[in-house]
Amino acid sequence: MNTLTAAATSLDRLRAAAGAVCDPEIPVLTLDDLGIVRDVRWGEHDLAGIVLVELTPTYTGCPATEVIAGDVEAALRAAGAPAVRVRIVLSPAWTTDWITDDGRRKLREYGIAPPGVGHPAGAVGLILSVRCPRCGSGRTREVSRFGSTPCQSHWTCRDCLEPFDSFKAI
């Protein structure tokens, strides 16, 4: 195996390791499910030998971002990275559209309603009905636009009467 292929293979392995890190607040989701790992690459010149990672926060004030950055660094070191530097990038802004289909399925199974696709830009957002992740009923009610984490809202089901969280579409 030549060095170029070796480097590419190890980078693939490092990318997989970063993407497999679990979200600290919604541990059923990996960072790949959320779509928040922007880039994993080897640094060049004076950064040679350092693995550079770019992450994007779901919300600018999300306190999990710093925990995630630490977890990614630990995971990459465990996967053999000699040194890691994590950078938070805001642009382009993260959107719930980047959550994978697999991620949506895991959310539902975990009891969190997955986000709808897209958000009406500009207009005052309509509160669209969300399907209960427990019984599947569409007869649900939004209790509060804000939930247990910045990315969720709080709902309750009129049929099974269970409260549940819903991932906000942004």
Binding site: P57, Y59, T60, G61, C62, P63, V89, L90, S91, P92, A93, W94, T95, H119, G122, V124, G125, V143, S144, R145, F146, G147, S148, P150, H154, K168, I170
Partner: protein, 261 residues
């Protein structure tokens, strides 16, 4: 063909100043909203106001960190947040006034989030890349803040006689701080130095009115015609409220310089 003009020292100072103004708005309002935690009328509102506060804190951190780097004097986001005194803060007065009752907080949220939404929407096109990137992120967050304020304004205004009365009184208490938001005179130098980067707040007024006025009408509320107005927050003039807020917000950092957690 003209070569791109390198930013002058004045531009750097103007940009840092502009960013600090916007950052201070987010920082101070974030702190005010956090004061509601454990005191809101419902548990859901504790959580909602805390979430909005957290979004604003994230925006403040990004803006102040950027300002510190642009300024080039080695000040970090923490230095700017915790080590400036009252007269050095550049926030609009509306964000510093006391929370009042829940209606006053909602009235302020309506006024401010409707303004901040238009501001960030306009800053999407800013030539300063980091500012445009923050705006793209923050405009989505603020859309939720604005929805929250609108929903409560409707519910309180078009609710019982008591809730209507208190919501109307809240508008009367907060409307004197509206003019200052859209008054560009205190940042005229920054606006002149930062074409394509900064946004003249006066240009946001029509869209703001278009958002707020129908909400008041639907909520059966009357738009106040205040006979006084605030001014000067952007040049460091503040109400008596700000000093008390800073004393609480900064005491830990000042007692333990350089502390981190």
């Amino acid at each position: 063909m003209t070569a791109p003009i390198a930013p002058t020292v004045t531009d750097t100072a103007a940009l840092a100043g502009y960013l600090i103004g916007l950052g201070d708005d987010a920082l101070v309002l974030s702190h005010r909203l956090a004061e509601w935690i454990t005191r809101a009328p419902q548990l859901e509102e504790d959580i909602a106001l805390a979430n909005i506060s957290l979004d604003l804190l994230g925006q403040a951190r990004t803006l102040l960190a950027h300002a510190g780097e642009v300024e080039g004097r080695g000040r970090s986001e923490d230095d700017l947040a915790y080590l400036r005194s009252e007269r050095e803060l550049r926030n609009l007065q509306i964000v510093e006034i006391g929370n009042g009752d829940f209606a006053v907080t909602i009235a302020r949220q309506l006024i401010f989030s409707a303004y901040q939404y238009e501001l960030y929407a306009a800053l999407l096109g800013s030539a300063d890349e980091r500012l445009a990137a923050l705006a793209a992120k923050a405009v989505k967050e603020v859309a939720y803040h604005r929805d929250h304020a609108i929903a409560w304004t409707l519910r309180l205004g078009d609710g019982t006689a008591l809730s209507h009365g208190r919501m109307q009184a809240a508008l009367e208490a907060t409307w004197p701080y509206v003019e200052e938001i859209f008054d560009p005179s205190d940042i005229a130098d920054q606006l002149a130095a930062l074409p394509g980067i900064a946004v003249d707040p006066a240009t946001l007024r029509p869209a703001w009115t278009q958002c707020v006025r129908p909400v008041l009408t639907e909520a059966t509320l009357t738009e106040p015609q205040p006979n006084r107005r605030s001014r000067g927050g952007r040049r460091g003039l503040h109400t008596e409220y700000l000093g008390h807020l800073l004393a609480e917000m900064q005491s830990l950092h000042r007692a333990h310089p350089g502390v981190s957690w």
